[in-house]
């Protein structure tokens, strides 16, 4: 195991890649009262088309299948659920699916070794039958309906359909009733066999644990020893730089109108090729120009243009999406103010320095929260295929020249504007 020190703190972080190519990271922290462990799979809702392990042709799976698989993964046989073991041994377990990742995690206060061992055992034990798949459809359908009543979720899904032509980002993360109704046990097995392979996974354990305990479990887990790496071939999508739809209006059960204003940019057009650094710079830029201490944030409140707003970005294939979210009954003025700000971007060295200080402080603070730290490293590992434990040093090295290059490389011609108005206009009295 290689050992690293977190910059500016005394915390150790251990990292290794096992012979079967499973990446393992261990962050003991005796000050944290509980333990946390997660097994992440680089497989999410975007991975719909791929060549199944041992086959030659691409297959297309239904939207929402990664999430479906996550639900069914807890079943170990017809009568046993993975949670039975955890709850008897003082741990809690859950799982989540995002666009690019499925994550199985546990937390607890006792029997760490036994529970970590069981985490590996259950994730590496596939059990899918058509009978249990059918039983799950109604449960997932209720989950989908719950999301479909959330205005933020509807806006998210809608704007992605406006931004993308081909990329599966346009599909709903959990699928639709129609798509999940077609899921079969055979498809789940294909997905599992293809993606749940050690070279596509990352194990992280943190909190009140010892390095020795984790190593002992890893060395002795029979199922883990049997796992073999295999190559994964995902479909690559031709995606246009333009957006599919520029403007759309919705009527929703809301009281305050909501806006999403998104910009689609090709990553090839940026001089900065290091995606991790590019995204750090974009975080800085968003915080400096649009964050809580920005002139922009002050102005939009003072001028009574928005109730609240935030900015974020994500990457998808070859594209970067910069997304402005607002609650505003003056959406046209908001749009104009965003445009005005973006076309006149200027950041000073002093502003960058202050923001670096803020981000470095956050990086120090997160080391107190072992579960959050583990999740942050896991998410970065899935996104960048690298252990990003040197964040603080990289932030320290960010400079105004590189940031200015990125500012100059940003372009805003391709954009989508989504406006959601209240269904019942009496909800929106001024």
């Amino acid at each position: 195991m290689k050992v690293y020190k977190f910059p500016r703190t005394d915390d150790n972080i251990y990292f290794d890649v096992l012979d079967n190519k499973l990446s393992v990271c261990i962050i003991p922290n005796e000050n944290f009262p509980t333990y946390y462990a997660a097994l992440g799979v680089r497989y999410g809702s975007l991975d719909l088309e791929f060549i199944p392990k041992g086959e030659k042709e691409f297959i297309k799976t239904p939207a929402g299948i990664a999430h479906f698989l996550e639900h069914k993964k807890f079943e170990l046989d017809a009568d046993t659920d993975a949670n039975d073991f955890f709850s008897k041994h003082g741990a809690s377990a859950n799982a989540s699916t995002s666009f690019k990742q499925t994550k199985y995690y546990i937390w607890g206060g006792t029997n760490f070794k036994e529970n970590l061992n069981h985490l590996l055992n259950y994730v590496f034990t596939p059990y899918f039958t058509d009978e249990s798949v059918n039983k799950e459809i109604d449960i997932i359908n209720e989950e989908i309906k719950m999301y479909d009543d959330e205005p933020g979720w509807i806006l998210d899904q809608t704007v992605k359909q406006m931004l993308f032509y081909n990329h599966p980002m346009k599909e709903k993360l959990a699928g639709t009733y129609e798509s999940i109704s077609n899921v079969t046990a055979k498809e789940l097995i294909d997905c599992y066999n293809t993606f749940y392979v050690p070279n596509n996974m990352f194990l992280i354990a943190s909190g009140n644990i010892s390095l020795e305990d984790v190593l002992e479990v890893i060395e002795n887990n029979e199922l883990l020893k049997k796992q073999k790496p295999s190559k994964i071939i995902r479909k690559e999508y031709e995606e246009k730089d333009s957006v599919k739809e520029e403007y759309k209006e919705l009527k929703l059960n809301i009281c305050i109108p909501k806006v999403k204003y998104c910009f689609k940019m090709n990553l090839d057009k940026f001089r900065m090729k290091d995606q991790f650094k590019l995204e750090l710079y974009l975080n800085m830029l968003e915080s400096i120009v649009f964050g809580s201490a920005s002139e922009f944030a002050e102005l939009v409140k003072k001028e009574n243009v928005v109730e609240g707003f935030y900015v974020e970005h994500y990457t998808c294939g070859k594209h970067l999406i910069l997304e402005f979210n607002a609650e505003s009954d003056k959406s046209d003025i908001f749009k104009e103010m965003v445009d005005n700000c973006l076309y006149n971007l200027h950041i000073t060295e002093e502003e960058l320095k202050r923001m670096k200080r803020v981000w470095i402080a956050s990086e120090i603070k997160i080391t107190d929260k072992s579960d959050m730290l583990a999740n942050s490293l896991l998410d970065d590992f899935i996104e960048y295929e690298n252990l990003c434990n040197e964040r603080i040093n990289i932030i320290d090295d960010l400079n105004i020249e590189e940031l200015t290059d990125i500012v100059n490389d940003l372009y805003f011609e391709n954009n989508s504007f989504l406006l959601a108005n209240p269904k019942d206009s009496s909800n929106n009295e001024k």
Binding site: R8, T9, N31, F32, P33, T34, D81, N83, D84, S87, K88, G90, A91, S92, A93, N94, W107, G108, G109, T110, D138, I139, E142, E143, K145, M146, D148, D149, E150, N253, I254, C255, I256, G291, S292, A293, S294, E295, A297, E298, K301, K302, N304, E307, E327, R354, M355, R357, V358, I360, A361, S362, I364, K365, T367, D368, K369, S370, K423, N427
Partner: protein, 418 residues
């Protein structure tokens, strides 16, 4: 953790010394009897204090100062605890050993400025900032309806009682916002700062003597401490037949909220048995409700029970298809009967006891929860943590069956979907 309370005439200081955190958190809690109109006034007051002070007249200037203090976080919130309202305002900053020594005092000065030097002119809060705060509160009040699950809980509680404090949610009320202006809010501030019972908490790695001197010097309140008693809400009535209300909505899913009243709990039951009862009923994925309704019948994605001890309530929440509404209610009743009959595995109690202890351990990883635990302990609402972890292990199957007799299904509310 080393916990010590020092008592002074105007307030108590709770020192919780620990090397677990790289931050130092200072929080001032203002406690007073619950009054419905104070919910809105306190929300408006603290938003206003954080929006504008003499030294930091705009939100932006305050945020810039926080950034200069290595991302110090200043925040405030108000919540109801049984028959009381508690407002918390505090600052969390990196321990100066990771930054600069001067930051220690500067951070406390910032909190002092916000509390004691609001932006006031001619006996009223700054008009421009007040207008922004007022509009934000109005929008917040309106937006409750956008969140079906939150809205459904507030409506169930409203239906449950005509007069008890839990019928009021923590968001601001439109009629109370409309009644507020810059002058009235400033008058409320003047009365508030002189009349509340105050407790101050400090968590982190610090020198207690130095911290005490700084707090005594910077936070001077002209108040007298009060006795905080009768925190628990006692229900005025328990319905023999549950009250059922259905409200139409345009949502896709129906949101169900069921209110269970707790009446006549003995001390050990209130402190411990009811926790295990609630976890067994609907705590996590391994609960009886999840087993009976989700796993055995595929009717819901989630169904959970939340215990609120000071309100003497358990609230069950779920999302479902309307066609399953009556069936789910029947299954909830059957599940409660199942507990009373002891039709559950005695060995499963241990897992809920471990879950309870793990949730305490986990909460101790957050400075905010450490302060909340200390307050509850100080007010005599809960035992010290070590005692809690030991006593919970004494809960038996018989205890759980017995406590079910003091749990009453009182109110059913459905926000009906398609």
């Amino acid at each position: 953790m080393d916990y010590k309370v020092e008592e002074f005439d105007s307030y108590n200081i709770h020192f919780i010394k620990t090397k677990k955190f790289k931050t130092i958190d200072v929080r001032i809690m203002f406690i007073d009897d619950f009054k419905k109109e104070d919910i809105t006034k306190r929300n408006a007051l603290f938003d206003n204090l954080l929006y504008s002070s003499k030294k930091y007249p705009t939100k932006r200037s305050l945020n810039i100062k926080c950034q200069d203090l290595y991302s110090a976080y200043v925040g405030a919130s108000s919540l109801r605890l049984g028959n009381y309202l508690i407002s918390k305002i505090g600052i969390s900053f990196l321990n100066p050993k990771y930054t600069e020594n001067a930051m220690f005092e500067e951070s406390l000065d910032l909190l002092k400025e916000i509390i004691f030097n609001p932006n006031v002119l001619d006996g009223e809060f700054d008009k421009e900032n007040f207008a922004i705060v007022k509009k934000d509160l109005l929008n917040e009040a309106k937006s409750v309806k956008e969140q079906p699950r939150v809205y459904a809980v507030s409506k169930m509680l409203e239906n449950m009682s005509e007069s008890l404090p839990y019928r009021y949610h923590g968001y601001s009320y439109k009629e109370d916002i409309d009644n507020l202006d810059e002058k009235k809010l400033y008058e409320y501030y003047q009365q508030f700062i002189k009349s509340n019972h105050i407790e101050i908490f400090v968590v982190g790695d610090f020198d207690s003597d130095m911290m005490k001197k700084l707090i005594r010097k910077k936070f001077v309140f002209d108040v007298k401490k009060k006795a905080i008693k009768n925190v628990f809400i006692q229900h005025d009535k328990v319905r023999r037949r549950a009250k059922k209300s259905i409200e139409e909505s345009e949502n896709i899913q129906s949101n169900l909220v069921v209110g269970l009243k707790l009446k006549g709990l003995k001390e050990f039951e209130r402190k411990y048995v009811i926790n295990i009862y609630s976890l067994l009923l609907g705590g996590f994925t391994d609960s009886l409700l999840m087993q009976n309704i989700r796993e055995d019948n595929s009717m819901v994605y989630y169904i959970n029970a939340y215990l609120n001890k000071v309100d003497n309530l358990i609230i069950i929440k779920s999302g479902l298809a309307f066609k399953n509404f009556e069936k789910v209610i029947k299954l909830i009743r059957t599940t409660m009967k199942q507990i009373e009959n002891g039709d559950f595995d005695e060995n499963s109690i241990l897992k809920y006891q471990l879950e309870y202890n793990t949730s305490i351990d986990y909460a101790l990883s957050m400075p905010g929860s450490v302060m909340d635990f200390a307050l509850m302990q100080y007010l005599g609402l809960s035992d010290p943590i070590d005692t809690r972890k030991k006593e919970i292990m004494k809960v038996t199957k018989r205890d759980i069956q017995e406590v079910n007799k003091r749990v009453f299904l009182d109110t059913i509310y459905l926000l009906r979907g398609e």
